[in-house]
């Protein structure tokens, strides 16, 4: 099966190396376009003024924090069922990136909250569940480094990631289930986005840029982890690094 072939480190390593520059350059281009649209083209909000520009970082970062966790959970499920080693590599490579985006979402949210809500932080359901997501990432990472046997570490990590997935719907619906200070969803709605295109387009471009950033960095980290696991193996000697 072609999927299983490329799931082997020997084939994945050069394939990821070939794809990496493409994703990187696409990311640079989209990021430049997103920053230009967000900082120069998008108009200030009629209520929030120029602080709305924080949104072009904050919202894509928050989406990424959940997207990366969901992708880790998907990989964990596949890894537990089919015993593919590459999914473990993916999960441990994705976790620090997910933690970074979660931290970024929390910090930019705080910087946006201060001028608009008058406070850096409230124990609001949305903010608290996002903070729990950060702890899930950090918990996963410390669990991985605490267990010496790599196979046991991967298994325990996969189970932790799967248990923590319950937090994702809590984050998403927190603004509906509880009376939060955080505003409800404006883009991911069943009846379609409720944002004007002048703000929605830069937001979606930044979203694409962050996704490409994740793909690029996760491929780089996976290659690095493969080198660590496979150092001294025959295929690395034959095809070179």
């Amino acid at each position: 099966m072609i999927f299983q072939k490329y799931a082997a480190a020997k084939y994945f390593y050069p394939l990821a190396g070939k794809c990496l520059p493409w994703f990187t350059w696409l990311c640079v281009l989209t990021l430049a376009a997103g920053l230009y649209l967000g900082l120069f083209v998008a108009p200030p909000d009629y209520q929030q003024g120029e602080t709305v520009r924080i949104m072009f970082i904050h919202v894509p970062a928050a989406w990424m924090s959940m997207f990366i966790y969901a992708s880790m959970a998907g990989a964990a499920a596949i890894g537990l069922v089919w015993k593919i080693k590459l999914t473990d590599t993916f999960i441990s490579s994705a976790a620090p990136i997910g933690a970074s985006f979660t931290l970024l979402a929390l910090v930019t949210g705080s910087l946006w909250g201060k001028p608009m809500w008058g406070t850096w932080w409230v124990w609001d359901a949305r903010l608290t569940s996002e903070l729990i997501l950060l702890f899930l990432y950090l918990g996963f990472m410390s669990l991985q480094s605490a267990i010496d046997d790599p196979r046991r570490a991967a298994r325990a990590g996969a189970i932790l990631v799967l248990v923590g997935v319950i937090n994702l719907p809590v984050i998403h619906y927190s603004v509906e289930w509880w009376n939060t200070l955080h505003q409800p969803a404006s883009v991911a709605r069943i009846d379609g986005p409720r944002i004007h295109s002048s703000i929605l387009i830069p937001l979606l471009v930044m979203m694409a840029a962050f996704k490409l950033f994740f793909v690029s960095v996760v491929l780089l980290r996976m290659r690095s982890e493969i080198l660590e696991n496979e150092a001294g193996s025959h295929w690395l000697k034959e095809q070179g690094v």
């Binding site: 602080t51 520009r53 970082i57 960095v217 080198l227």
Partner: protein, 53 residues
């Protein structure tokens, strides 16, 4: 719009530019640290391959 107005961000310069600065630092570290590690690994493996072959 002139540049002074642009950097002032309607009086919210601190909040807006801090957000962009922190984003730059966090994303920058996410590229720099793994890249540095990867290049060091490549170098090490190339060196051992040369000495053994």
């Amino acid at each position: 719009m002139n540049w002074a107005e642009f950097f002032n961000m309607g009086g919210y310069a601190f909040h807006v530019w801090s957000s962009y600065l922190i984003a730059t630092i966090i994303l920058g570290l996410n590229v720099w640290l793994p890249l540095r590690k990867f290049r060091a690994q490549q170098k090490k493996i190339r060196r051992t391959n040369e000495t053994t072959s």
